[in-house]
């Protein structure tokens, strides 16, 4: 079955494409890209009318928690990848903190098999760096690479032992895969449910200082310099963290960084009122994540760094949690919020308000993440037809029923958006579309 996407504006900044083009897809691959109307004479093909819409290379979310195996009450690979395609993502990379931990080829293969069965977005399992995420000994990194792993991370269980991290980087470099670091000095952030600052002082919570991130970003950069490894800094949240990444890039090190929509859009002030005009009852735990929401001055710098390219990638850190994980004492509540269905619309909001350029947004959601995972996502003839189509005008409101995720821990419930995902095409298959 052939498919034509017609009438849309194709934007693929890395390929220097920004023009009205029609795309012909056959057998899951891009068969041709040509002037509007070029394929109008073809009969027996399915057509998507993309006029007034933006067509981009498929979006790739490099930081997702799919929770399966082991924590299926929060999310499954099927529900999470469904949320991904509803949110415009053709690929997701899932973190290793499942039960069991993805620290072996067996678990990696299990995840890939479940992802195939689900048939929604592509899934790139991220392997653990250390066995059981315990920070003690290396996981079966080589075997996992053979099974399909293209990056490793202990994510929320950062490796405090610098000597072990050095070895992990050297070993990862041996297989030419990046190591993803959740930069947090756990001694500094111990028992701290939120950012350290004026708000934590007022509310009487222990604070996680920006220094906790800065120290570890600095360490990862030092170790990258020592080992030559590719290092990716997950969900960067601080001014100095950004400055360190900028300097490391200037020095020619192989460092990349991602930022989440929530760190771009929200500050710790929200923990005081637990409301940001969403007309929905939110609890303080809805704003709890790691790294925590920082004070407002960090937001501006993050946005600037995303625009300038110091921050390469936008990632959701989609972290589903059941209500019992959140409806508890704030200090005990689980870290994290949903992100797969809100990331693209929230970023379109920034584009709408001219705070982020459309081309930077598309790069940070498609080519940059694909590059991190050595995945070819360009809109080129012969490539897999992974395509996201955006509607910049559509107005809508996020309600709990719209969530494909098994959890509903989103501070953005009730929010009104302008800009939506019109269709998500994976390997030539329209997985989701507002048409029909």
């Amino acid at each position: 079955m052939e498919l034509v996407i017609r009438g849309g504006r194709v934007v693929s900044p890395d390929q220097k494409i920004d023009a009205l083009k029609d795309i012909l897809i056959a057998n899951g691959k891009i068969k041709a890209i040509d002037q509007p109307g070029s394929f109008d004479s073809l009969s027996g093909v399915k057509k998507i009318d993309a006029s007034q819409k933006i067509i981009t290379p498929g979006f790739f979310d490099v930081h997702v928690h799919l929770r399966e195996p082991g924590l299926e009450y929060k999310e499954t690979i099927a529900s999470g990848t469904r949320a991904a395609v509803l949110g415009g993502f053709t690929s997701v990379a899932c973190m290793a903190n499942t039960l069991p931990v993805n620290d072996s080829a067996i678990t990696t293969r299990y995840i890939l098999e479940k992802a195939r069965d689900a048939g929604q977005s592509r899934v790139f399992p991220i392997g653990a760096v250390t066995k059981g995420l315990k920070g003690e000994e290396l996981a079966d990194i080589g075997f996992m690479v053979e099974a399909g792993v293209r990056a490793i991370s202990d994510d929320g269980m950062p490796i405090m032992n610098s000597a072990l991290m050095r070895k992990a980087m050297e070993y990862a470099a041996t297989f030419d895969i990046p190591i993803i670091s959740h930069a947090e000095d756990l001694n500094l952030s111990k028992d701290a449910p939120m950012n350290e600052g004026a708000v934590s002082a007022l509310l009487g919570y222990r604070g996680n200082p920006a220094a906790s991130e800065e120290i570890m970003v600095a360490r990862e950069i030092a170790l990258a310099r020592l080992t030559g490894a590719r290092v990716h800094i997950a969900h960067i949240s601080t001014i100095e963290g950004v400055n360190l990444v900028r300097r490391a890039k200037e020095a020619g090190l192989n460092i990349t960084a991602e930022v989440t929509p929530h760190h771009l859009l929200m500050s710790d002030q929200l923990l005081m009122k637990c409301d940001h005009g969403c007309n929905h009852r939110h609890s303080r735990a809805d704003y709890k994540m790691a790294p925590p929401l920082r004070s407002a001055e960090h937001q501006e710098v993050l946005l600037e760094a995303l625009n300038s390219g110091v921050i390469d990638i936008i990632a959701s850190d989609h972290a589903p949690h059941g209500c019992m994980d959140k409806e508890t004492e704030f200090e005990l509540a689980a870290n994290g919020i949903l992100g797969l269905q809100t990331t693209v619309p929230l970023m379109l909001g920034l584009v709408q308000h001219k705070k982020l350029s459309l081309s930077r947004m598309i790069q940070a959601l498609s080519s940059a993440p694909a590059k991190l995972f050595s995945h070819n996502a360009a809109l080129s003839v012969g490539n897999d037809a992974d395509i996201t189509i955006l509607d910049l005008e559509q107005k809508w409101k996020l309600t709990p029923e719209m969530l494909a995720s098994k959890s509903s821990n989103s501070p953005f419930l009730g929010r009104e958006f302008q800009g939506a995902v019109m269709a998500t095409i994976v390997g030539g298959d329209v997985k989701w579309s507002t048409e029909k």
């Binding site: 111990k190 028992d191 350290e196 004026a198 002082a201 509310l203 919570y205 200082p209 508890t328 200090e331």
Partner: protein, 313 residues
């Protein structure tokens, strides 16, 4: 639903109204003996407490109400039941208001919300302890013959709060309360026990040492010194080397108390670590209001019930 959870969110007028009510009740408790008639109050104390719990029990009794009392640790919560489930279970026995102490800041907000009950905060984490601030201000007003019916009654008064500000809900409620009432508040603590950013608090002075000439001068100018309990059970990390060193630099020792004006008064929310943050002789001196604070606790808590039920009626 309106609750008494923080002093921060009270207006100056509302705060003075609570104090005014406290004095009315103290003057004529009989008049209020039916205030809570037919009402059952859930006293939910997940963290240890002696005086707060006893004074709340007493307050309910004097107002003609009944209470069910729950102390955490000894029951289902120890078996792993969630806080929300525990409270919802207890509420099936019937309750008209929730009084709660909990080691987690903000726990009372979402519980009161989830249970849709009027709530009084009996101390939440390091956040606030509003009834303590009421009884402290009440004790100071009595001492200084001030009326809560006049605006900014503490104008011109210098009040020191000394000790573990970082972990202290008593300090947080009092910073808001005393400044709302017009006092000049100075916080004294080593940097390890002082929040790093006080910019969202009302304007206060901060000093870190009491043994310096400047510290001594501030002490000599104080009209009241509120010593905080050193919360030894919360010191998970070393905030200072030894209790001896703490006493030496921040304790209200006999020698240091001599620097105070004769008219200055000394408060402590209790329980005290005698010989650490405050010397025994100072505790029992004529300048000490410590036992008066305990007595006023009952009146202040009666006023809290009366005020909260009035809000919600």
């Amino acid at each position: 639903m309106q609750n008494l959870i923080t002093i921060r969110e009270l207006s100056e007028t509302q705060l003075r109204k609570f104090l005014s009510l406290s004095f009315q009740i103290k003057k004529n408790p009989e008049q209020f003996s039916q205030t809570l008639k037919g009402k059952n109050i859930l006293l939910f104390f997940v963290e240890n407490s002696t005086r707060t719990k006893l004074s709340f029990e007493n307050a309910v009794k004097k107002l003609g109400g009944t209470h069910v009392s729950f102390t955490g640790g000894a029951s289902s919560m120890a078996k792993g039941e969630s806080l929300l489930d525990t409270v919802k279970t207890i509420l099936q026995y019937g309750a008209d208001a929730l009084v709660m102490r909990h080691s987690s800041g903000g726990a009372i907000d979402w519980l009161a919300d989830a249970c849709n009950l009027p709530a009084i905060n009996a101390g939440d984490g390091h956040h606030e302890h509003p009834t303590q601030a009421l009884l402290d201000s009440m004790s100071l007003m009595e001492q200084w013959n001030l009326s809560p019916d006049q605006e900014l009654p503490f104008k011109g008064k210098n009040i020191l709060i000394v000790g573990d500000i970082y972990h202290s809900r008593v300090a947080r409620s009092n910073i808001h309360g005393l400044t709302k009432l017009g006092a000049e508040v100075t916080l004294v603590a080593p940097k390890t026990l002082m929040p790093s950013d006080l910019s969202l608090f009302p304007k206060v002075k901060v000093i870190h040492r009491m043994d310096t000439p400047h510290g001594k001068e501030i002490l000599a100018n104080a009209d009241a010194v509120m010593m905080l309990r050193l919360q030894l059970e919360r010191q998970k990390v070393a905030f200072f080397p030894t209790t001896q060193e703490y006493r030496h630099f921040w304790g209200l020792t006999v020698e240091r108390a001599k620097l105070l004006k004769p008219s200055a008064v000394i408060l402590h929310p209790g329980p005290m670590n005698r010989g650490v943050e405050i010397d025994s002789e100072v505790t029992d001196s004529k300048q000490s209001l410590i036992l008066k604070q305990v007595e006023n606790g009952v009146w202040a808590r009666m006023a809290a019930f009366k005020g909260v039920f009035e809000w919600n009626s």
